[in-house]
């Protein structure tokens, strides 16, 4: 009797956790690029090279990376999962890069909607949004996905 009760409790806990987490895709974050970018997939290393200023062109166009304010969950997840650094390390790297190379840091926008507009409006645009925000978006296509 006690064993059966434990099994029921464990199954209920699992079910609750699954409901709370939602579908797996809903918490994913998707890196998107402008439709004029030919690439259909990018590796994490390629995304990283663009956001850290090591790759500044693709398909003959200057890259136009887009980021968010520090506190947005998408930004935190991107820094952690793709760039492998915290916000201070990211800013510090760019401050030094600005003085060393003259390159400009990624453009900052405030919302995923603004990010999609910025990426679709620039031929070299690249950004990242919650997978749910991608629904109905035009002028961009996904190239990389990572957990939020």
């Amino acid at each position: 009797m006690r064993t059966r009760w434990r099994r029921v409790t464990a199954l209920a806990a699992l079910a609750l956790a699954a409901v709370a987490a939602g579908p797996a895709w809903a918490s994913d974050i998707v890196v998107v690029v402008n439709d004029r970018v030919a690439a259909q997939t990018l590796s994490a290393e390629q995304v990283r090279a663009i956001y850290l200023g090591e790759q500044r062109f693709w398909n003959g166009q200057p890259t136009y990376p887009v980021t968010y304010p520090d506190q947005l969950p998408e930004m935190r997840a991107f820094l952690r999962s793709v760039l492998g650094m915290n916000i201070n390390e990211f800013k510090s790297l760019w401050i030094k890069r600005i003085f060393r190379t003259g390159d400009l840091p990624p453009v900052r926008v405030n919302t995923p909607e603004e990010a999609l507009r910025a990426v679709s409006g620039h031929a070299g645009g690249i950004g990242f949004v919650d997978a749910g925000a991608l629904e109905g978006a035009t002028g961009v296509h996904p190239v990389f996905r990572f957990p939020g």
């Binding site: 790759q55 200057p62 800013k91 510090s92 030094k96 003085f99 400009l104 840091p105 900052r108």
Partner: protein, 369 residues
Amino acid sequence: MKRCSTAGWVLAVVLAAVSAPPTAGAVTGEIGDARVSVNGYLDLQYTYMGRLPQGTETAPGVFAVAPTPADPISTLGQERMNLILRVDEERYRATVNLRAAQGVDGDTHSTGGRVEVMEAYGEYRRDERFSLRGGTFLTPFGIYNEFRYAISLFAPVVLATVYAPPDNYADSGGLAHVAPDNVNLMAAGALGRAPRWLAYAVYVGAGDRTATGTDPNEDKAVGGRLTARLAGGRRSIGVSYYTAKDPQPWGRHRHTMASLDLWTGQLHTESEMLWVRTSTDAADVFAWYVRLSRPVGRATPFIGLDFFRDDANPIYARGMRRWSAGAGYEATSHLYLKAEYHYHTYPGAAIPDAADAVHMVRLAAIMVF
């Protein structure tokens, strides 16, 4: 009046930088299809320097050691201010780098209180492999030469190979030809995919100019640099060459440099070696430094050793050694603090005893945006 206007200008820039939302270190905006950015650099420094040996120029290019060393220096003030304006539109970029060298307080320094155009250039960037730049800009010669205006952010002060001599060094003469001058036209690019790159730069410039801006050179300065980045960017090896033919006493001088920049785990090693040969051989310069640093949280402690030898100047003819230790601390992504100690020795030089072991301390608060 001049001081008030400059101070007001600097204050306005700082206030604008603090109030505007920064994007990882830049105040940026868009005007039409162009992206406009403002970056800046401003420091507050305390410097103590002991009794440095002094030299005097007895004839053009001939130096002697003064019988008494310089008085100690103890100063607190704002030393460097830069404001960099950039406009990017697709493949084109324009950059203006303004500075108030030696601070905005113009009482004692030759350039103090005046805002100067340090760099101004336009650039066409075809792609990763080729760009063309024209105007006036710092020579991409070594690890630091391109951004020596922000040197206290990146390195211990007064690196031999990026010589921005303190006044009492400059007064001893003979060091003007150590750092390559600005150049005016450059082709540059990088081959291979990131992060494995072979970067190149070839450039031409006017060489030395007189204080009145005239160019007395018999021909133009030319040079180039190759940099290989290996192991995912954790190793960088560079070689540079620069030559110019300037008026006597130095005549033609040839600068050759090699640099090494590598990470071993968390340990960062930076080193450069510079050899300057002049047409007379009497003013050759040989210099190198090694600097080790290791990030520990927000702090980056470092140790370093510099060597500097200038055959034309008896103070440096047998080589000056500078031992350094210190740490930088990143208080925020816009505010850096730095403390450095340097110990200079001049073994074998016929200089006054009081000048043979010179201590230097520098504390700096550096604001960047």
